[in-house]
Structure formats: structure tokens, C-alpha cells
């Protein structure tokens, strides 16, 4: 196994020892290891979080390979959480990976509550609302969603900020959502940054919705009210 400091030498230069220690003690739950979840998980593992809990009940299919960074053509037919766990475990050897093959509706609240930060990388609003419902008061949820070449993200603090239901009341579920690969990586990278911001005590999107429009590189923050 590589030494911690060797793998993260460049990050250490930027973040500093104290901040890297905070990151190395963090346990994060990533709900959904599709497009967003693969990239968020990879970034957090390369940064050396202590433990990553990944949750998904999906099986890898060909269309996933166009945007889901942890999978290859050899993984078709495998459970996403199994393939992701194998890749993430071997990535640095620094992060414990717990894989849970379950829908969000079956996920135990105690598992969610044991994580200091939850990342919503899900692909439908029903599951997002179920996840939010299971958070404990004051728990941090980083939410992201994408379509075409745009997306949005925010940080929810249960009971303190506007909720997902506040923001997305009555929204219609789309069946098959068109998505460009660059927006997946862009929004997922921003979500991972906000996870780190939260770990380090400086979240930037509490009560703010960041809309990302990649086609003309516009980023807009909207102040939310509950």
C-alpha cells in the first residue's frame, strides 16, 4: 500500500495537513453510483476520505458506459455497487468502501445517520425525497441533478434550509433523461467540492441553488426560501 502522503502529495500542498486530516476522518454516503455518483466517489476516494458508503440497486447496462466513469464494458451485468467497490478499493487503498445493494426506500436510517455528509446522486425525485425524509435533523445533504447539458446543486441542512420538497414541489418525473457526458463530470465535481467544503466547515451552497448551464458556461446562484 502506498503511503498516504505520497498519494496525496499535491492535495497536501494545497489543503495543508490539518485540512487533509479532517478529510481523512470523514465518512460519506453516496446515494446512487450512476453518472454523478461515480465521479463524486472517485474524487472523494482520491482525496482520501476515511469511509465511503455507496448505495445503489442498479445493474450496469451499455448506456451507462457513456457517462459512468467507474465502469467498463467488462462490467455489463454486474451490480453497480460491486463494480464500483472493486475499483474504488483499489484506487488508493486509503478509503474503506461499504457497498449496499438496495433501493433508498430500504436503506436503514441508522446507516444514513452514521455518515456526516450524504450526497444525492440519484436519478429520480421520488428517491431523493425518500432519502431526504430519512436524514436526521441538522444532517447535511449535497443534492445534484442534471439533464441535457445543464444541472443544479445545493446543500440542504435538514430542518434548517429549504428542503428538496420545498424546491421541487410537484415536479414531474421524466422517464429517460437525456444527459451529456460533460455535464455529469462538471456537476459531480462541483458536488464533490461542496462535500469537501462541508467537511472543512465552509459550505458555499447552504440555502443557495447553483444552476450550471454548460453550453455558454453560465453559473447562477439563486437564494432559496423555504
Amino acid at each position: 500500500m502506498q503511503k498516504h502522503s505520497d498519494i496525496q502529495a499535491r492535495n497536501l500542498l494545497f489543503f495543508g495537513k490539518s485540512n487533509m486530516e479532517k478529510i481523512s476522518k470523514a465518512t460519506i454516503l453516496v446515494a446512487g453510483v450512476g453518472g454523478l455518483g461515480c465521479v463524486v466517489s472517485e474524487i472523494l476516494v482520491r482525496l482520501g476520505v476515511k469511509k465511503l458508503v455507496i448505495v445503489d440497486n442498479g445493474i450496469i447496462d451499455e448506456p451507462d458506459l457513456g457517462r459512468q466513469a467507474l465502469y467498463t464494458i467488462k462490467d455489463i451485468g454486474k451490480k453497480k455497487v460491486d463494480a464500483a467497490r472493486e475499483v474504488l478499493t483499489n484506487m488508493s487503498g486509503l478509503t474503506e468502501i461499504e457497498a449496499i445493494f438496495e433501493p433508498i426506500s430500504n436503506l436503514k436510517m441508522s446507516k444514513i445517520h452514521s455518515c456526516e455528509c450524504v450526497v444525492d446522486c440519484l436519478d429520480n425525485f421520488k428517491s431523493r425525497f425518500e432519502l431526504e425524509e430519512k436524514l436526521k435533523q441538522g444532517q447535511v445533504l449535497i443534492h445534484g441533478g442534471i439533464q441535457n447539458d445543464f444541472g443544479q446543486l445545493t446543500t440542504i441542512i435538514k430542518g434548517e434550509t429549504p428542503s428538496l420538497e420545498n424546491i421541487y414541489a410537484n415536479i414531474k418525473e421524466e422517464e429517460t433523461i437525456p444527459v451529456s457526458t460533460p455535464i455529469v463530470f462538471a456537476v459531480a465535481s462541483l458536488m464533490a467540492q461542496e462535500v469537501i467544503n462541508n467537511i472543512l466547515g465552509s459550505p458555499q451552497l447552504i440555502g443557495n441553488l447553483l444552476i450550471v448551464e454548460l453550453n455558454d458556461f453560465t453559473f447562477t446562484k439563486i437564494k432559496l426560501k423555504g
Binding site: G32, G34, G35, L36, G37, D120, C121, L122, D123, N124, F125, G144, G145, I146, Q147, N148, F150, G151, Q152, P162, N166, I167, Y168, A169, N170, I171, K172, E173, E174, I177, V179, I183, V187, I211, E213, N215, T220, I222, K223, L224, K225, G226
Partner: protein
């Protein structure tokens, strides 16, 4: 002045980011949106409401950061200085 801002698919379709509406006193949201449509390059209200005037559920409308479903929907009162943000959100992951 009330700002009506368009994002994502609606912004692309209309080719504009925002429309300013002069307002005196108070108006209902539907009235402000109709005023905005008159100044827009293309009609857009049919993407937000059905023929009966009911809100469709394909786009989010925020008034000062709050979803109008939690206000008075299209009857939400609008006054000078308010901001209306309209966008179909990304639901994928």
C-alpha cells in the same frame, strides 16, 4: 421593476436570459408572466400552464427563491423589486 429570469431549456428556447417588467402597486404572478410574454421573442406561457390556467409540473417557478406551489401558485402577489426565476430542473443523475 420585476425581473423575470429564464434558465436552461426555457432560456435556450427564448434566446434571452431575463425580462424586466415595470410594475406599480401589486399584480398577480399570472399577470406579470403575461406582461413578460408580450415582451419575449416567443410565447412561453404554454410551457408553464395548461389551457385551463393550471400550473404544469415540468418547470419550477420561484418567486424570491420560493416555489410558487408553496405560495399562491399563479395568483401569487408580485410587487416592485421581486424576482421570478423559471427553469425546468435536471432530474437525472
Amino acid at each position: 421593476m420585476v425581473k423575470v429570469k429564464f434558465f436552461t431549456l426555457l432560456r435556450l428556447e427564448l434566446g434571452i436570459r431575463e425580462i424586466d417588467i415595470e410594475i406599480t402597486g401589486e399584480k398577480r404572478l399570472i399577470e406579470v408572466l403575461k406582461d413578460a410574454e408580450e415582451k419575449a421573442p416567443k410565447p412561453f406561457l404554454h410551457k408553464l400552464m395548461d389551457k385551463k390556467g393550471e400550473l404544469l409540473n415540468s418547470a419550477i417557478i420561484l418567486v424570491n427563491g420560493k416555489n410558487v406551489h408553496h405560495l399562491d401558485r399563479l395568483e401569487t402577489p408580485i410587487k416592485d423589486g421581486d424576482e421570478i426565476d423559471i427553469f425546468p430542473p435536471g432530474g437525472g443523475g
